[in-house]
């Protein structure tokens, strides 16, 4: 085991962590505001990846521009998902377990919907990976550096949004105590819709960068990655965006560094192991609990 191999693992880990951070923050934001897990979230990633495929391969657009458009369209999908599918159940005051059954049913529906349109074959974007750059001990392609920059930019913007804007403060309030937020005059419905939009946007972006990162993808792209996202989300404390960022970093590094020691087919087992340890010993997450978003 040479040192350079470990540095390579850390390099891959940073990229996986970037993909994971986008996905994990998108899931945890929506959880924080609505207080239930969306098991169809993996399909937001898949839908984002395939929408970008349409623009990139079908309309010959630049992959990063395709990614942005796909992110916006996935946000619309997530918004409609909330309005058409989730809200009827919220209005009837359905139990949470029923909501979870609904989201997993929609997961199955959406995944097979994508498969019905695009088929089960592997798809690939057309985009040169770019020249290989040496940055310190790391070797990155230009594409990988852009992925890391996108994730970093998204995390900084999210921080600004949550900390300094009215919408961000409203989301945090709603996440702390929904009833209190409502009687304080916060338009909870509108804030919830924004949370879904944001969740879909981040999920869509995560799907595209995940598809770039794994190179070939099928309609199972998102649902197969979902439990790695769960691991990152639970590690950081479910519903906490900053925790999800930290969780993404830890899980991403752990997965890729371990892959330099053993068969890389088992790297998801590492993510699963961390998930199990967290649930057994610290289910509230590694960050001290002080409000959820």
């Amino acid at each position: 085991m040479t040192l350079s191999l470990i540095w390579m693992g850390i390099g891959f880990g940073l990229i996986t962590a970037s993909v994971l951070a986008l996905g994990a923050v998108g899931l945890t934001l929506q959880f924080g505001v609505t207080n239930f897990v969306n098991f169809a979230y993996g399909e937001f990633l898949t839908i984002g990846a395939y929408l970008a495929f349409v623009f990139n391969k079908g309309l010959n657009m630049n992959i990063w521009l395709s990614m942005l458009i796909a992110g916006v369209l996935t946000a619309v999908v997530a918004y409609l998902f909330n309005v058409w599918v989730i809200q009827p159940f919220i209005k009837r005051k359905s139990q949470m377990i029923i909501l979870l059954v609904v989201t997993i049913g929609m997961d199955l529906f959406l995944m097979n919907f994508v498969q019905a349109i695009f088929g089960p074959e592997f798809k690939q974007y057309q985009d040169p990976a770019g020249s290989i750059l040496h940055i310190g001990p790391f070797l990155f392609t230009l594409q990988q550096i852009i992925i890391i920059l996108i994730a970093a930019a998204a995390m900084v913007s999210l921080h600004v949004l949550l900390k300094y804007t009215k919408l961000g403060k409203a989301m945090r309030a709603l996440s702390d105590n929904a009833e209190l937020a409502l009687i304080s005059g916060i338009p909870t419905m509108r804030v919830t819709n924004y949370a879904w939009l944001l969740s879909g946007f981040l999920g869509g972006l995560a799907g595209v960068v995940l598809a770039i990162n794994v190179n070939n993808f099928t309609p199972a792209l998102g649902s197969e990655f979902l439990f790695v996202i769960f691991a990152a989300v639970i590690m950081g404390g479910i519903g906490r965006p900053y925790g999800a960022m930290l969780g993404a970093l830890v899980i991403g590094l752990a997965m890729e560094v371990s892959a330099t020691f053993m068969d890389s087919a088992y790297k998801t087992v590492v993510a699963f192991g961390i998930l199990v340890i967290m649930l057994l010993f610290r289910p509230q997450g590694i960050l001290p609990s002080r409000g959820r978003v």
């Binding site: 239930f36 897990v37 098991f39 599918v85 009827p88 159940f89 359905s94 949470m96 377990i97 029923i98 979870l100 059954v101 609904v102 997993i104 049913g105 929609m106 997961d107 199955l108 529906f109 959406l110 995944m111 097979n112 919907f113 498969q115 019905a116 088929g119 089960p120 649902s223 197969e224 979902l226 439990f227 769960f230 691991a231 639970i234 068969d263 087919a265 088992y266 998801t268 087992v269 699963f272 998930l275 199990v276 649930l279 057994l280 289910p283």
Partner: protein, 332 residues
């Protein structure tokens, strides 16, 4: 045609058993098991390798563990116990947290991990190729052809299904079942009455997993082979849809659900093929199952045959009748 109907009848028994197990977990206790098929598969694998001849390791049959050549009633029991043990592990990780989403997350993750590990770790159950040549119960003495063997196997399936039905019915109608329903309705109230919610939920989850394993064991001993492409996410939700349509909480409803969804809808639509896109029908079937789950809980959450509403007449409680007669109302 008779051959086909017999096969359907046998599959009906498999699915009915699966639905009873899931109904015990979700319908009765309110536990979200989003990877039910994994317990079916574990039951199938372990029953299979318990019944097979020892592996020649790398020979024609591939490599696998065990190879104990156990006779029929023992091999399914091995399968059921293996599935129950996986249930204990999953329950320890996910059931201690009171929020139901944690267990759901654990089940989704466990399903993916088990699927991936069984596929990649070839020494266990011969990896992605799966195990083949599982002996059919007692056919080494009966020496029947595949077509003629279906009658005795239907008999075996019906007997096993009847035993499982008796088991779930006894559990449902007993005080134990009443506590499970109480936990489903409000676990805090059940805990306040001194019931150990974790222990009850754990036991219901594990018994459900055992029943799933029994169904898987029956399936592998009928089909004779098992590999990872046979137990995908879709299979879990076919059972879910059957349970929701049949009427969760109702064991008779499970029979109807197992007939309507897996047998009538899934098996019968295998006749429909779209020549240009051979896999399109598979995707449409998946969309339909997902949509069916959502529409079922939206428009008929109680299912076709609703759970019987339990009413406990006040007159059976000594002293209460007089209170009611005097104008006092019993609350709760």
């Amino acid at each position: 045609m008779l051959h086909y109907l017999l096969t359907l009848a046998i599959f009906f028994a498999f699915f009915a058993v699966e639905a009873w197990g899931l109904n015990l977990q979700f319908g009765l206790t309110g536990i979200l098991d989003f990877t039910y098929i994994t317990f079916v598969a574990i039951g199938a694998y372990f029953a299979g390798v318990a019944a097979m001849t020892p592996s020649t390791n790398g020979g024609m049959g591939g490599s696998y563990i065990f190879g104990w050549q156990l006779p029929f009633p023992l091999s399914p029991v091995i399968g059921g116990i293996a599935a129950a043990m996986l249930g204990v592990v999953v329950g320890i990780i996910g059931l201690r947290r009171l929020r139901s989403d944690y267990l759901a997350i654990v089940t989704v993750s466990v399903g993916q991990i088990v699927w991936m590990v069984i596929g990649n770790a070839t020494p266990l159950f011969n990896g992605w190729d799966g195990i083949v040549g599982v002996p059919q119960p007692y056919n080494s003495v009966m020496n029947l052809s595949t077509n003629n063997y279906e009658w005795p196997f239907l008999g075996i399936s019906v007997i096993v299904a009847a035993i499982i039905f008796w088991l779930v019915r006894s559990l449902t109608e007993s005080p134990y079942g009443r506590i499970l329903r109480a936990i489903r309705e409000d676990e805090n109230v059940a805990a306040a009455l001194g019931k150990n919610v974790f222990r009850y939920r754990m036991s219901a989850f594990v018994i459900g997993a055992f029943i799933a394993g029994i169904s898987g064991a029956l399936q592998i001993e009928y089909i004779g082979a098992w590999n990872p492409s046979g137990w995908t996410t879709l299979e879990t939700f076919i059972v879910w849809a059957a349970m929701l349509v049949g009427g969760r909480g109702n064991n008779r409803g499970m029979l109807l659900g197992a007939f309507l969804v897996p047998v009538l809808f899934t098996e019968a639509t295998r006749w429909i093929t779209i020549p240009a896109h051979p896999l399109l029908m598979e995707a449409i079937r998946g969309m339909a199952i997902g949509l069916l789950m959502v529409l079922a809980v939206r428009f008929r959450p109680q299912g076709v045959i609703p759970e019987r509403k339990r009413v406990f007449p006040l007159t059976t409680i000594p002293g209460l009748k007089e209170d009611v007669a005097n104008g006092h109302t019993a609350q709760g």
